[in-house]
Every structure is written in structure tokens, then in C-alpha cells.
Symmetry: C2
Subunit: 380 residues, 2 copies
């Protein structure tokens, strides 16, 4: 095997597949990157028990030559040092040679590395995903869907199913839901070309979505999403991102969302974020990060927190409007800030149903596409 390749696309591909490689793997060969050279180009593969990523460097793309010389072959090389080695090479071209004893030689300028390779035949065969359950999404939209929901997955393994994002497609409506049982994030979009495709109980591990979001650039190009019973595949021209799905039944979450409200607050989102952020400075000292919100008079909110050892903070916030009953409620400041940032709207509407019931945050110009729900805490 021999490759004479540009350093930059090689570096990008290595960084992509590194997202799937864990230093703690129990299968030693999976701590390596698989390199395959064939007539189409160079394919790199990284994998762990949850995610497999393939990144393809085509010989030529958009008139730019990536690969100048190639003799087909394959090898597995230790991933630990590879990104640093390639990044620090002196020349923009890299020559990779593999001999019959699995020695990998990397040459660039006056630098020459010799690394011990492993036989690519020992690398696990990756499952070939067979499904007709495919739909296309714009990549920037997919990234937004991930950002708006994935932060709310559970980080605790007590209910493993909650560590994933629930995906549902029905009647051209795609819905993502994440909840850690204290808060819930929901985002819907209308699909134009899902072609009667329907699925439910597809639960993608939150970590998979985080890595996918890091790899994908913010573009308007599309990505193909294919779903089977136990795996999901995201595929672009040069990237193949396969994740296992979580086992088990995702809880029915729609009944958690209150369909009425007793107090409705409309407020500037940025001002609310900043006020809660300041109030939570002292709340963090208690390790529970709880702030208290109280309606004051016509259009004023008061946000307070208290730490016996340090002191207290009081924020006064003018809202656009407060309608309905007076309210005193306490909640986790971080949940509120996460939710407001996910909604990413200038003005938000918060719908409360009393001090002990979950409350719902939506953009003030509600198009029913995004919803954040937070369960308050009892402090009175």
C-alpha cells in the first residue's frame, strides 16, 4: 500500500474518525484507525461499541487533487499519536507506505515516522445497514435539532433509555424529544418528502448526537438518515456515521405537557438569561443552583437566590406582560438557561400552572415547533 496525499484533507478525516475512538476500548484493535486505499480514494474508519465513523477522501474533488499517488491496500494504525503526527508534519504532502510486515512509514519533508501497524483483516467487519427507511435533512437543520434537544438527555444511567433522544416520524411530522425527568426539550419539524415513512421508538444515544454535531459543518447540504431496528445511519457524500440505538421503550411524554396555564409571562429572553445567570452565581454555592422567581405588580419579575454563607442576590426584571395569577416558584437556574438558549428567540412566553406544576417555555411567536418544559422545585 502506498499513498501520496495532501496533509489537510487527511488531517480532517483523522479528526472525524477520532470522534468514535475511545482509549478505553475493550477490543484492542478498535484503539486504531483503519486506513484503506482503493481506486475511489482513501477511507478511514474509527469505531467503538456505540459509534462507527467512516470518512472518505476522494482522489479528486471540486477540481482539487487530494491524492497524487496510490497503490491499493489496507492497514490499522494506532490512533493515539496519529493526529499529532499528521498535524505537525513539515510539508503539505504526506507519503504513506506500508510494507508486507505491517510497518507503516509516514514521510513528509525531512521527517520520517515508522509506526507499527496491525492487520486490517483483524478489524471487525462493520454491519451493512439494509433499510428503506430513509429520509433527507438539511445539515444545518439537523444540527439545530440536536442543539435544541440533546442537552436535556439524562446523564445518569439509572434509566438508560433517557440518555438518548427520542425520534418519531409520522404524517410528515418529525419530532425529537429529550428528557432527564426533571426537564424536557421537544422540537418538531414538518417534512416535505418523507414519503409516508413512519417510525417511533427510535432512541439515539445523546453522546452519538454530540459527536455527530461536532463532525458536521454548518452547511445547507443534505444528509441522508436511515433507520433500522437497532441502528441509525447518517450519510453524506464522504461521511458515514453509524450509531446503535438504545434498547427499551421511550416513555410517553406528551401527557407531561400541561395544556392550560394560570400565569403567562412574556419577557425578553436575553435579559432573563442574564438575570438568572447572575442570581445563580450565589445559588451555585448551595450546590443545588436553585433560584426563586416571584411576580411583582403588573409587569415586574423578581428573581432571587440566597446562600447563607455568602449572601443574597435580587434581580428586578421588567417583562412585556404578566397575565393571570400571582406566582412564587423556584427552579434550577441551569435548566432555565439551557432552555432559553435552546429556544433562541428574542422574546419568550412562559406558561406556569402553579408553583408545583411543570412550566412550559415557547418562543413568543409560537409556531408550536419548539417547547421546553421544566419541573419546579419545592422551597416553600
Amino acid at each position: 500500500m502506498k499513498i501520496l496525499i495532501e496533509r489537510e484533507p487527511l488531517m480532517n478525516s483523522i479528526q472525524n474518525v477520532m470522534k468514535a475512538i475511545s482509549s478505553k476500548t475493550t477490543i484492542p484493535i478498535l484503539s486504531g484507525i483503519k486506513l484503506e486505499a482503493n481506486d475511489q480514494g482513501v477511507k478511514l474508519t474509527g469505531s467503538n461499541s456505540d459509534i462507527t465513523i467512516e470518512s472518505i477522501i476522494p482522489v479528486e474533488e471540486d477540481g482539487i487533487v487530494n491524492i497524487h499517488e496510490m497503490v491499493p491496500g489496507q492497514i490499522v494504525v494506532q490512533a493515539k499519536f496519529l493526529p499529532e503526527i499528521i498535524r505537525k508534519l513539515p510539508d503539505h504532502q504526506v507519503e504513506i507506505n506500508v510494507d508486507s510486515d505491517l510497518n507503516l512509514q509516514i514521510k513528509s519533508g525531512h521527517a520520517e515516522f515508522k509506526l507499527n501497524g496491525q492487520d486490517a483483516e483483524e478489524y471487525p467487519q462493520l454491519p451493512v445497514l439494509q433499510t428503506d427507511n430513509s429520509f433527507d435533512l438539511q445539515i444545518d437543520l439537523l444540527k439545530m435539532l440536536i442543539r435544541q434537544t440533546n442537552f436535556a438527555v439524562s446523564v445518569s444511567e439509572t434509566r438508560p433509555i433517557l440518555t438518548g433522544v427520542h425520534l418519531k416520524l409520522e404524517n410528515d411530522l418529525l419530532e425529537l424529544v429529550a428528557t432527564d425527568s426533571h426537564r424536557l426539550a421537544s422540537r418538531k419539524i414538518t417534512m416535505n418528502d418523507s414519503e409516508q415513512l413512519t417510525f417511533n421508538n427510535v432512541v439515539i444515544p445523546g453522546k452519538s448526537l454530540s459527536e455527530l454535531n461536532k463532525i458536521l459543518d454548518e452547511t445547507q447540504e443534505t444528509i441522508q438518515v436511515s433507520v433500522t431496528d437497532n441502528q441509525i445511519l447518517f450519510r453524506t457524500k464522504n461521511l458515514y456515521f453509524l450509531s446503535r440505538l438504545l434498547d427499551g421503550n421511550y416513555p410517553e411524554t406528551s401527557r407531561l405537557i400541561p395544556n392550560q396555564s394560570k400565569t403567562v409571562v412574556k419577557v425578553d429572553s436575553k435579559e432573563l438569561i442574564e438575570s438568572i445567570d447572575r442570581a445563580s452565581l450565589l445559588a451555585k454555592d448551595n450546590r443545588n443552583n436553585i433560584v426563586k422567581l416571584v411576580t411583582k405588580g403588573q409587569n415586574t419579575l423578581q428573581i432571587t437566590s440566597h446562600s447563607p454563607e455568602v449572601g443574597q442576590v435580587e434581580e428586578t426584571l421588567e417583562t412585556d406582560s404578566i397575565e393571570g395569577e400571582d406566582l412564587k416558584i423556584s427552579f434550577n437556574a441551569k435548566y432555565m438557561i439551557d432552555a432559553l438558549k435552546a429556544i433562541d428567540s428574542d422574546q419568550v412566553s412562559i406558561n406556569f400552572t402553579g408553583a408545583m406544576r411543570p412550566f412550559v417555555i415557547r418562543p413568543e411567536e409560537d409556531d408550536e415547533q419548539i417547547l421546553q418544559l421544566i419541573t419546579p422545585v419545592r422551597t416553600y
Copy 2:
């Protein structure tokens, strides 16, 4: 006590004095910042057992008003939350009020913090430094002196005196030396106005110099340096940085520096740094970070390292010249990179005296002002 002050200079002063505050202090009141308001302005003090920093915010400076209102007084306030609180305040002005019960109120825009204060009378009296041993230095020069020597102090407490930088002034020649017994960094400058001032065995803790370097901006303004038997004071118009000195006698280091050489290599510094950096990528896997340097023919250096598990790397480097005996030598890659970066010269001259003797690196245009010495390791 009352202050109406601009947020930005207050923030800067807090950040400066925070450099002296340790959360692990055994004297509880030293986990706080002392605030004093008087007619000159507002003075903040932070201190630990090694360093005391005072930062003064004048009422007005360069025509800009920092302090709009003031009622004199003093208080000690918990340092832990103060930087974040002040940084996140909504308005560019901050009002601070202290009542007779030591409650501190911080108001800005619609935000109001109430913090528990402590009696400033309980804050330790700081020693007043009395000395005529003072000289002036340009601040950017002082920062360079610190950068070029301080990295070489020992991080081990087995010989505490080596954790400091040795300062010596004699015949208008100021010399700084740091060594951890494996390497040595020396920098001299000629003083014009040291007025027959002479001192020796002034050893400043490396940590103090690191913090001082962080606080000082890169300017051509001067700083006054005053030395006593057990303390050193760095003073600018609005900053007062006092450090204890290390006890004990600093070793005589001048005899360590070889005055002859058997092999002299002149080489491009940046190329050498990059080659050693790449060679050390695999050397780090051994945890000793040792690379081997071998002269090859007329003007060529070969730099190699080897990790049994990962592989090996070989760098070929064209030098400007190699004079004298052939050489094979091994050394710590990090020490070499630190030394080359400290010298900060395009071309360097490396003087070797055999494989087992310390070698010396100087700028190729040697003005005898800077010298870096490294002890090789035995690998043959």
C-alpha cells in the same frame, strides 16, 4: 463606606489581586479581598503567605473619571464569587455600600447583591518595606527576563532554593539565573542607573514571578524594584507587588558552564524546534521524553526517537554549520524546546563538550546576554 465606580477598572483590579489569593489559605480572612476607599481612590489588597498585591484605582486618571462618588471606609469581602459577580453586572457603573453591620451591597442596573463582609481591622497588617536598595526597570524588559529564566526553576521541593530565580546585581550588571539541576537559564542585562547598588543571593519564588508576569502589561513604562533581606517589592503607579524571598544560599552556578567546546552546531532555531517537537511525539510515550541527536556528515543533524510499542521517528536537519568532533548525544526534548523558545533568536549556536557533558545554547549573534544549559542523559 460608599463607592460609585466604573465596572471595568474595578474588574481589572480584582483580577490583579486575585492572583495572590489562594482558596487553600490557613488564615481565613486571607480568602477575602480588602477594599479601602479614601480620598486618593479605592485600594484592593489580596495576600497569601508568599505574595501580597495591592491595586489602586485612582479617582481620576488620564482625564477619565473612575470613581464618581465616595464615602471613605474599608471592608473585607469573600474573594470566591466577587470576580464573577462584577464581571456579569448589567451596567458599566457599580455602587458599593457597606453598613455598620459589615453588610456589603453591590448594585448595578436592576441587579443587587448583598454579601457578608468581614472587619478590615482583622486583616493582617502588611509589612512596610524600608530599603534604599531600589532600581528601575522597563516593564517589557522585566517580563522578558522572567520569561527567559523562570521556566527553568525546579518544581520539586527537595531543594527549595532551586524553586526560585536567583537575582544578582554587581557593577551595573543584573543577572538572573534559574536551574532545576538538569538545566540552567541565565540572562544578564547592563543597567545604566543602578548607582553602585550591589546585591547577591536574592532568590525570588518562581510562582511569584509567574503571577507578576501575568499582571504586568507589555509596556515600556518602568517599574521600581526594591530589595530587602527577605522581601522584594515591585511597584508601579497603581500596583504594589510584594513577594517574600527564599531562605538559603543559592548554589554557585558559574562553574557549571563549560568554557570550551568540542562540537559547535549553528542552526535555524525554528526548524530545530519543529524537528525536536515531532521527534518527541513518540518519545513522550516512554514518559521520559528523550530524543537522540547525531551529527551526519558535513552539515546535517539527525534527530531520532524510539518507542518500542509505537514506532520510531527520524528527522534530518540541514544546519548552517557543524564544526569539531562527531557527536551522538541524548537529551530531554522539552528542555531543548523550552531553551530555544526562551532564546527567541532566528539562529542559535549550540556548544557541545562530548556526549556526557552539559551543552550550552546561545543566540548565534552572541552578545553574552543569554545562555541556556542542558545536561544530556546517558542512553549509550
